[in-house]
Symmetry: C2
Subunit: 164 residues, 2 copies
């Protein structure tokens, strides 16, 4: 199995997934594209650090080990074609959609689901849509929400310690 996307290459070798982070940077659902030296290795290492961090908090991840400089060895998993976003503050597309002040705290962590679909610009869905579109059952969606909230331990500390 070999799959190449905008920023990663995934190979399945001997029952493991090898996720290689490319130096390509993209924006606007692939409309803008450039290459940045070392971007892949920085992203791979950052991801490995965050996955380790989650693992220590008792949240299981797909990471088996970091293979420097730009590859993660991981458990091959069937993926939900979703972006799961956890928000603590009003920012970005939330403010564009609903208004409010950038940086304002939310009363509780909000979990949002977006279908990964460049052509349709990753449209937002609610739990009922996930069932209707046969992407996930209600139970699976609620479990994703719960895990996403649990995993949402502010990571600034970890990053600062390692990179600054």
């Amino acid at each position: 199995m070999y799959y190449e996307g905008k920023t990663k290459i995934v190979k399945v070798v001997e029952g493991h997934a090898l996720i290689e982070f490319k130096d390509d940077i993209t924006a606007g659902d692939g409309l803008k594209h450039d290459v940045m030296t070392n971007k892949g290795s920085i992203c791979a290492e950052t991801t490995a650090i965050l996955m380790d961090y989650l693992s220590k908090k008792g949240i299981r991840t797909h990471l088996i080990e970091y293979v420097p400089p730009r590859t993660l060895k991981a458990v091959p998993l069937k993926m939900f074609p979703l972006e799961v976003v956890v928000r603590l503050k009003k920012a970005g597309s939330f403010v564009r959609r609903y208004g409010g002040v950038e940086g304002e705290d939310l009363p509780f962590p909000l979990v949002e689901f977006f279908i990964k679909d460049d052509e349709r610009h990753d449209p937002m869905v609610c739990v009922d849509h996930l069932e209707i579109l046969k992407i996930a059952t209600k139970d699976q969606a609620e479990k994703m929400k719960e895990t996403a909230r649990e995993g949402h331990t502010r990571p600034e500390g970890v990053l600062r310690e390692r990179w600054l």
Copy 2:
């Protein structure tokens, strides 16, 4: 109290709301505008027929009585600033957002919430957003979903009987 919107005028007189349906037609969140003779009276009568129909099904509505040709006398209520949409089939903005075939049946009636906000083109929200934005509590939202589903008795029969 007097409020004039794109297609209706609402007055509160002696504890009742008088909702007057205008002949104005608009599209694109008010970007397009025209006037169509009798549109207001047709909409007022259609609404009255549908509200009566719901009432007979045991679903309470705001309608007190139809005041021909273009006015409804109604209970003045505090409104949730929401459009509550019930879908039985894939169509319109659902297909634009998620793809699929126009007219295809959904496995169950889908209730969608949109915030009434012309400037932001009525953005879709999930139940969690309603709580975050202090528009409705989770209980209120679930109640709205339930009532919307209950009210969703295919109305083609009623319309056909009356208009064709």
